[in-house]
């Protein structure tokens, strides 16, 4: 039996080594077609962009770099803002931070402004586990981080064990490259690209309205019709308000690991002369319970919140919504403008702090 175990171990070792050599030959964004498309575009346009928006679908669908740039060109022409939207649907904050670190490492000298939209901290939808879109993120450091973050959380013991286990399983899949051969070949063949993800202006923003027009047979039309009734919008807004009011002053229960990671990121940005703004959008479910305490810990000059529905009623106006969680084209124009104002305030505050 010893011989059998020895040979199986040797075979697995050879397999893992080959798999790791293969994985290391790929860019950090491999597997996630949208992220990879944006990354390739960003990389190929040397010196074109000095501002990055990164986050989940709320970033992807809500901030139009063209409008943002023109607004900033009017108000702050000496900042020479040229922005790129790195928003990826279902991206969680740990993935955004990982992508950001890679982007800073690659183009740290070109980047002057970063906007990070906070989303879920530890969880990844079970549906998204074992998917090539998420596998790129699993590194040893990220796994350690997700374990620490789960341990920090106020959730029960089962959750503290279960969530890291799920991630460990996915990490194992990446170590062993389970089912990822095709994605790897697509990456090497240069066909891991989804041009539509760049949007019509090739700056990473793609409004949901436009996508529905471009892809009339997709599920967006169903989402648009089913989810956007006044009753559901009112109910959703009321729920969001209740959650916001409940947690707005909460100072405990934040993830110390995530706080540390964000502080480290801000320090890294400061060290490279990059202005960083962390944004909190409107969220549902139990997200505010963990996001608001973390957000509250961040330096005032580095954060901007749109989380309070009462403060921004226009973001819940039926005319500005595409579905329950996303703005339409008109809403995104409005939001980009609102955000641009806040962005200028925060960057000026940071510059003021630097000057002092």
């Amino acid at each position: 039996m010893k011989k059998l175990f020895r040979n199986i171990a040797l075979l697995l070792l050879i397999y893992i080594v080959i798999s790791q050599v293969a994985v290391n030959s790929l860019p950090f964004s491999w597997g996630n077609t949208r992220l990879n498309t944006k990354y390739e575009e960003f990389k190929s346009r040397v010196g074109d962009f000095n501002t990055i928006f990164i986050g989940a679908s709320t970033t992807y669908r809500h901030i139009d770099p063209t409008i943002f740039d023109s607004r900033l060109a009017e108000e702050k022409p000496d900042w020479h803002i040229h922005s790129f939207n790195f928003g990826i649907p279902a991206n969680r904050t740990p993935q955004s931070i990982y992508a950001l670190k890679n982007l800073i490492e690659m183009k740290g000298n070109d980047i002057e402004y970063i906007v990070l939209d906070l989303s879920e901290l530890t969880k990844m939808g079970v549906d998204n586990l074992h998917k090539k879109e998420m596998i790129y993120w699993y590194t040893r450091d990220n796994i350690v981080s997700v374990m620490q973050t789960s341990y920090d959380s106020e959730k029960g013991t089962l959750n503290k064990i279960g969530v890291p286990l799920l991630h460990l399983f996915s990490y194992g899949e990446k170590l062993l490259m389970v089912g990822m051969g095709s994605a790897m070949l697509e990456q090497h063949a240069g066909i891991n690209i989804e041009e539509l993800a760049l949007g019509p202006d090739r700056n990473g923003y793609y409004s949901l309205d436009q996508e529905m027009v471009d892809d009339p047979e997709g599920d967006l039309a169903i989402r648009y019709d089913v989810l956007r009734t006044q009753d559901t919008i009112d109910f959703r807004t009321m729920q969001c308000q209740k959650l916001y009011d409940k947690y707005r002053d909460k100072g405990t229960g934040y993830s110390k690991t995530m706080e540390q990671e964000l502080e480290d990121l801000i320090k890294l940005c400061n060290g490279k002369g990059i202005h960083m703004v962390v944004m909190l959008s409107q969220r549902l479910g139990d997200r505010y319970e963990y996001l608001i305490p973390l957000y509250n810990r961040l330096p005032e000059a580095n954060k901007v919140s749109f989380a309070n529905p009462a403060e921004y009623p226009e973001l819940n106006d039926r005319n500005n919504l595409f579905d329950l969680a996303h703005l339409n084209r008109q809403g995104s124009i409005l939001f980009t403008d609102l955000f641009a104002t806040k962005f200028i305030e925060k960057v000026e505050a940071q510059e003021g702090a630097d000057a002092r």
């Binding site: 059998l4 490259m177 389970v178 089912g179 051969g181």
Partner: protein, 487 residues
């Protein structure tokens, strides 16, 4: 649990390890419990039927063994046949016959109101029912002795490697092996692992990948042109071969690790030179079962020509129906029956009619014959793969139409970023499979483990690493169920 699941990857090593760790006198109990665990992991209710079938067949066998007069044994044989076929008819075929009857009555405007039987279809019922039926018939005939130990008999019925999709084993082959005391043997376990690896390659790398393209065509009958339908049908032929023989390989390999040799169910069937040879190489244990318990009792081939034609058509229709409760499967069997009957008729009336390009072009004669037979077997596959016979007829019509460029399989496959790599990979893996199938065929139907273990160590290890990379990197990880589970 299905073989291509994470659950099974934990189950298999645990069972193998514990099997050798526990005293041999308790192994049957351990295997029985693990078999029921394996089966009940789908639905615990499934166990009820298999327990009922086991109990009745055990009782029938014991009673028959105590009676020497064959005539007096008959009621117990009938009890076994009636029980097993009733379960099969009720759970698998009731709705099919009911709907068919309703269609007939409706066409005559006669009111027909027998309700549907909305119960679950137990996994693998066709396999274990046939296995226990063969036991009862063999005991009745006196060709095998009744098993006196209820535990061993229950294990024979439920032995997990072959429980849900075969091979359909005979009691005379399997029961003595289950009683035998096996010690851990490195070479045997290694052979088992090679066979399992090869099975996984066929299932999760080839079959599941091919299904992407087959579904594109077969879920949208009439939307694709001739070449796309032909290509999809070829791909389906490889899909179903890899799916089913892959399952058999995993079953055979798993049993082999525990010392049990299950019957080879497939022997490179697409290298058959005749339809008859095809059925000697494809789903062998079912073909042999049908031959021994249906075809031979009907007189086999030692009958008049017209009776031979009837016997052939009938047995193939039953074989088709065994595959599933749908007219498409009946058609699948009937077409095979027609193909075999045509060949038999030609042999009878034109005994000298043979395709032979001479000894110097023997390989070409073989290649053309095999390709011809492969294409012939693809005709019934069109019915096998279609949801209805109407859909199958549409696909056959489509073969003779001009392709619509926006809906051809090739066009979509090569222009879609998501599928172009998969399409090319599909054919690369088919080529890899055929490379080894040719080697096995030319070495007198050698098994993959036999072929590999006699290679030098460097070749062997290269094969292991390549196979592991193929299975690991290129597995379609959606846990698609095996096609033959529905049977």
């Amino acid at each position: 649990m299905i073989f291509n699941s994470f659950q099974f990857l934990v189950f298999l090593p645990c069972v193998i390890f514990l099997y050798f760790a526990i005293p041999s006198k308790w192994r049957w109990l351990f295997l029985l419990l693990s078999s029921y665990y394996f089966y009940m992991s789908w639905k615990p209710e499934y166990a009820f039927l298999i327990v009922a079938s086991t109990a009745i067949d055990y009782y029938s066998g014991m009673r028959m063994s105590a009676i020497t007069d064959k005539k007096k044994r008959r009621p117990f044989l009938m009890l076994s046949i009636f029980t097993n076929l009733s379960l099969l008819l009720l759970f698998k075929y009731f709705n099919f016959f009911n709907e068919s009857a309703r269609a007939v009555f409706d066409s005559f405007n006669i009111f027909y109101n027998v309700p549907e039987f909305n119960m679950f279809l137990p996994v693998g019922i066709s396999f274990y029912t046939f296995q226990t039926l063969s036991y009862s018939i063999d005991v009745y005939r006196g060709t095998t002795k009744a098993e006196k130990h209820f535990g061993y008999f229950a294990l024979f019925v439920s032995y997990w490697p072959q429980l849900v999709a075969g091979p359909i084993e005979r009691s005379g082959d399997l029961l003595p092996q289950l009683r035998e005391e096996f010690k851990f043997e490195y070479n045997r376990v290694r052979e088992g692992l090679i066979r399992i690896g090869w099975g996984f390659f066929k299932k999760v790398v080839v079959a599941d990948r091919l299904s992407i393209f087959v579904q594109q065509v077969y879920q949208h009958p009439g939307e694709h042109g001739g070449f796309a339908v032909v290509l999809a049908t070829w791909m389906f032929a490889f899909q179903v071969y890899c799916d089913f023989s892959g399952y058999s390989d995993i079953a055979i390999g798993s049993a082999r690790m525990m010392g049990v040799n299950l019957t080879d169910n497939f022997k490179t069937p697409y290298f058959s030179k005749t339809i008859r040879e095809f059925w000697q190489r494809w789903h062998i244990t079912l073909s042999v079962w049908i031959r021994d318990y249906l075809y031979f009792p009907m007189g086999g081939s030692r009958v008049t020509y017209s009776r031979l034609m009837f016997n052939t058509m009938f047995t193939f229709a039953v074989m088709g129906l065994w595959h599933g409760a749908n007219w498409t499967f009946v058609m699948f069997g009937v077409i095979h029956g027609v193909l075999l009957s045509v060949r038999r008729t030609a042999d009878k009336f034109f005994p000298n009619l043979k395709f032979d390009l001479g000894p110097r072009l023997k390989w070409l004669t073989f290649a053309i014959s095999a390709f011809w037979v492969f294409n012939l077997t693809c005709i019934p596959d069109i019915f096998f793969c279609s949801a209805t016979s109407g859909d199958a007829m549409i696909q056959i019509q489509s073969i003779f139409t001009v392709p619509n460029t926006t809906h051809t399989l090739i066009h979509n496959s090569l222009t879609g970023a998501d599928t172009s790599v998969q399409f090319i990979l599909s054919w690369v893996f088919i080529a890899f499979l055929l490379f080894f199938d040719i080697r096995m065929y030319t070495n007198k139907d050698e098994t993959i483990e036999g072929l590999i273990t006699r290679q030098p160590v460097a070749v062997r290890w290269t094969f292991y690493v390549v196979l592991l990379i193929f299975v690991g990197w290129f597995a379609m990880t959606t846990n698609a169920a095996f096609i033959y589970f529905q049977f």
